[in-house]
């Protein structure tokens, strides 16, 4: 039992600078739900309205919703963490979920309580508006933007300005489908070629002066069919950012497929038109936008730097300077910043889940240890505290340990991504969420997080082909489905290998199907083979990359060679021999597939 409701907020914590909320939307939502329940609002209109406000449907029921709270550029402040902790205890399941797109989700919320969550969020400047539906979704930015040693400049102010520009903007209220922007710091940290618009900050010398701008990638995206984005041009100067964004959005709005909901993301339009034609259209449209937009249409980019001030703590400064497990955590959860003397510390969560108590504690920990006084949510269902003074790291670790947030492996393969799967999603076929947790527990037990050869590999799992778990860009990716032996069904996964989202972005290639209860042995088998055939200084990611590109010269030369070995693991036992094989994780009854209607396309 907890007391977070009765706690007073830190008095000197850094306050949010942007208010994304409008409390009147809470009032309107409550009213609309009532009208809907009275039958005065038809199902379709209500669903559109609900999604526009960030409330998604829930598996097998219309009584509950999932509220997706947007964190533009991934920024979150201590009082916001504390508020979300309270809201999750009051209106959700006492845990919150960090998504892969810098949202925090509250699941199993009674539809009639959603407006109360909006009210609570408004108290701390947050919104879920346009977190779902056919709108510009949360604008992401790398959690390392501003501190990444490889970046040319900090894209955060541009990400925030883009989010501000499109939120509640009439031009983005009824797009053919959802639309996503990702800003990043550098090629290595990636995630820009698998999204509608991806942006990498870039500085170019033009006539002797350094000009800020972006490398822009268009038309990428993960889904039932995934595509890698195309680079628009060599260099897009910063003043063209808004014109390019508007131009692309206008083209999509005009030409996007509004009929065939299953293939109406912009990537299909780009694919159907062909890149050259699309690119030309963007150039033309941009010229038009540039010429016709009023001068007041511009991005409101706030360059005020965050104040970097080492927090003054009243808490205990003594304690063991080298707590148990510290070295492992330091190695697998922290990154050196470009600012000397500071590190960014990533918190390992299990498939993005965190309890209300932990969230609340995290609010205090951010205040106590981050010299910028706020945190950044990451690309991998995680959260980073940046500007932690290196001297403070052991104490930070001890504090995290006290609240169960000091698990190692955040920046390694042992922190798999798992979408929500059958825990709440209507479309899910398997419990991908729990599988991600099972893998993490097992791999941390085996101390695989400490293995440098595995560090840059990733495991990502979706509960269906729709890619919310980003399986297409994982070194080892999985998406769920049902397998069958006679009349019996078992949970099954399609395994993909070699996906990546960095400068050499490619989608994983299908290897074979692996039953849910064989996924862990299958990954361990791949690691075993890698260890056997690896070259000196090889990593698993590089080895698999060579295999999928048929550039490996050892015994395993292609994905087919791997498949032959892996298929031995996929043979179903009889139900008498192994009944557990026929039930999914988190369930003790026989597996069967059951899905409802998706809302992505609503």
């Amino acid at each position: 039992m907890t007391v977070s409701d009765l706690k007073q907020p830190h008095s000197d914590s850094v306050r949010p600078t942007i208010n994304w909320a409008r409390v009147e939307e809470a009032v309107d939502f409550a009213k609309t739900v009532k009208l809907y329940r009275q039958g005065k609002y038809d199902d379709d209109s209500f669903r559109r309205y609900r999604l526009q406000h960030g409330a998604y449907g829930t598996r097998m029921t219309s009584d509950y919703a999932m509220v997706r709270i947007k964190l533009p550029a991934g920024e979150i402040y201590p009082q916001q963490l504390e508020k979300i902790a309270q809201l999750s205890e009051q209106f959700s399941i006492g845990s919150a979920h960090f998504s892969t797109r810098e949202n925090i989700q509250l699941h199993w919320v009674v539809l009639e309580d959603v407006s109360e969550i909006f009210r609570g969020l408004a108290e701390v400047g947050l919104t879920s508006r346009e977190a779902c539906g056919n709108s510009v979704r949360n604008v992401m930015c790398s959690p390392l933007s501003g501190v990444c040693p490889g970046e040319e400049f900090d894209a955060t102010p541009y990400a925030l300005a883009t989010a501000k520009f499109f939120l509640r903007n009439p031009m983005a209220q009824s797009l053919p489908r959802k639309f996503k922007f990702n800003f990043t710091c550098c090629e290595k940290h990636g995630m820009v070629r698998m999204v509608d618009v991806g942006l990498i900050p870039q500085i170019k010398e033009i006539d002797g002066t350094a000009q800020k701008g972006f490398k822009i990638f268009l038309g990428g995206g993960l889904g039932n069919r995934s595509f890698v984005g195309h680079q628009l041009e060599e260099f897009t100067p910063e003043e063209d950012l808004i014109y390019t964004s508007i131009a692309v959005l206008r083209i999509f709005d005009r030409l996007g497929d509004r009929k065939n909901l299953a293939r109406n993301r912009m990537r299909y339009l780009v694919n159907d038109m062909g890149w050259d034609a699309f690119q030309n259209l963007v150039f033309k449209e941009r010229a038009l936008v540039r010429a016709t937009q009023s001068v007041v249409t511009q991005l409101d980019v706030d360059f005020t730097p965050s104040e970097i001030k080492r927090p003054i703590r009243v808490t205990d400064e003594s304690g063991n300077p080298n707590p148990d497990g510290y070295a492992r955590w330091l190695k697998t959860n922290t990154e050196k910043q470009k600012q000397p003397g500071y590190r960014s510390a990533f918190i390992t969560l299990e498939a993005g889940d965190i309890t209300a108590n932990q969230l609340s504690a995290l609010g205090e920990i951010v205040s106590d240890y981050s010299s910028e006084g706020k945190a950044r949510v990451g690309f991998n269902q995680n959260i980073a505290l940046r500007y932690v003074s290196e001297d403070d790291l052991p104490r930070l670790y001890s504090r995290l340990l006290e609240v169960g947030l000091a698990k190692s492996g955040s920046l390694t393969m042992t922190a798999p991504i798992g979408c929500s799967g059958t825990t709440s999603c209507n479309l899910a076929l398997t419990n991908s969420h729990r599988l991600a947790k099972e893998i993490q527990r097992k791999f941390l037990e085996l101390r695989l997080d400490e293995d440098d050869d595995l560090r840059d590999s990733t495991i990502k799992i979706s509960g269906c082909p729709n890619s919310c778990g980003q399986h297409g860009i994982a070194t080892i990716g999985f998406f769920g489905g049902g397998g069958r032996v006679g009349k019996e069904m078992y949970p099954n996964y399609q395994m993909l290998l070699g996906g990546r989202s960095d400068g050499e972005t490619m989608l994983g290639l299908t290897c074979t199907r692996i039953p849910a209860k064989r996924v862990i042995p299958a990954i361990l088998k791949i690691i075993e083979l890698f260890k056997k055939y690896k070259k000196p200084n090889d990593t698993l990611k590089e080895w698999i990359h060579r295999i999928v590109n048929e550039k490996e010269d050892s015994e395993i030369k292609s994905i087919l060679d791997l498949r032959k070995i892996m298929d031995q693991l996929a043979v179903p036992p009889t139900k008498e021999d192994d009944p557990d094989f026929y039930s999914d994780y988190g369930s003790d009854t026989s597996y069967h597939t059951k899905t409802g209607k998706g809302e992505c396309a609503a």
């Binding site: 409701d5 009765l6 097998m60 009051q90 006492g94 845990s95 709440s424 988190g586």
Partner: protein, 270 residues
Amino acid sequence: MRSLSQEKTIKTTTDIDSLRSEIRDKSVRVIDVRREEDYKQNHIPTAVNLPLANLLSDDSPERVLKIFNSLGIDDETRVVVYDDTFGALASRVAWTLEYIGHSDVSLLETTYSRWKSLGLESETISPEIQSKQHSLRLKPEILATSDYLEQSKEKKDVLLIDNRERLNYLEQHIPGAISLPYRTLAKNDKILRPKEDMKRLLDNRGISGDSEIITYCGSVGTLSGLAYYALKSAGLPNVKLYVRSFKEWKNLKKPLEKQEDANYWDLSAE
């Protein structure tokens, strides 16, 4: 019109300042329902100790009457109850007092921790108590039993509210119940939301004064006791507590309802 005189004069919760002046005027009996060792360390001045476990060991009306007599409470005594568990244990004691026919009982608006953190006065001595005689006039209209619940199934305008946490509710609950986790009832440092806040939340849920409302929780009616007072504070006139709650319902092998085909427990980070 229904007599509103009692509800008007007796507030569900008492604010800190009012309690302090009542203590100074010696016009109140304060009950601390924490464990004896906590009470002995310190407590609100003049408070007597009634650990909830003591009350629950046998909460038959006759024994309860004896207990309250021994705490110096008669029909006219003004009583304020407090705890350190967000008001849930205090609510259960207050409800019991109401059930035996006492009318003037309120909950302290906050917890003892909060009282202490504000630097307010406390003491370690136990007051001398003179035993009093309380009459026994049971109020069955605030009690619900499993039989009563079964009979209510057929009735319209009876709302059953489950105050356990959401995941427990999803896993199993009494058929027809709606979920209002006890956490929803508090606000910041207060054990109950402000009246208007509470009314808005209930109104969104379609919980109104037109219905008879029954609250229940996991085992002994503490969390649902708090909900009982939350609903009363919002002005709902007809609230009952299913005091033996879900534990009894399950033991009696009564029918249950669950949210099927979803692995919601795996979303919990516990």
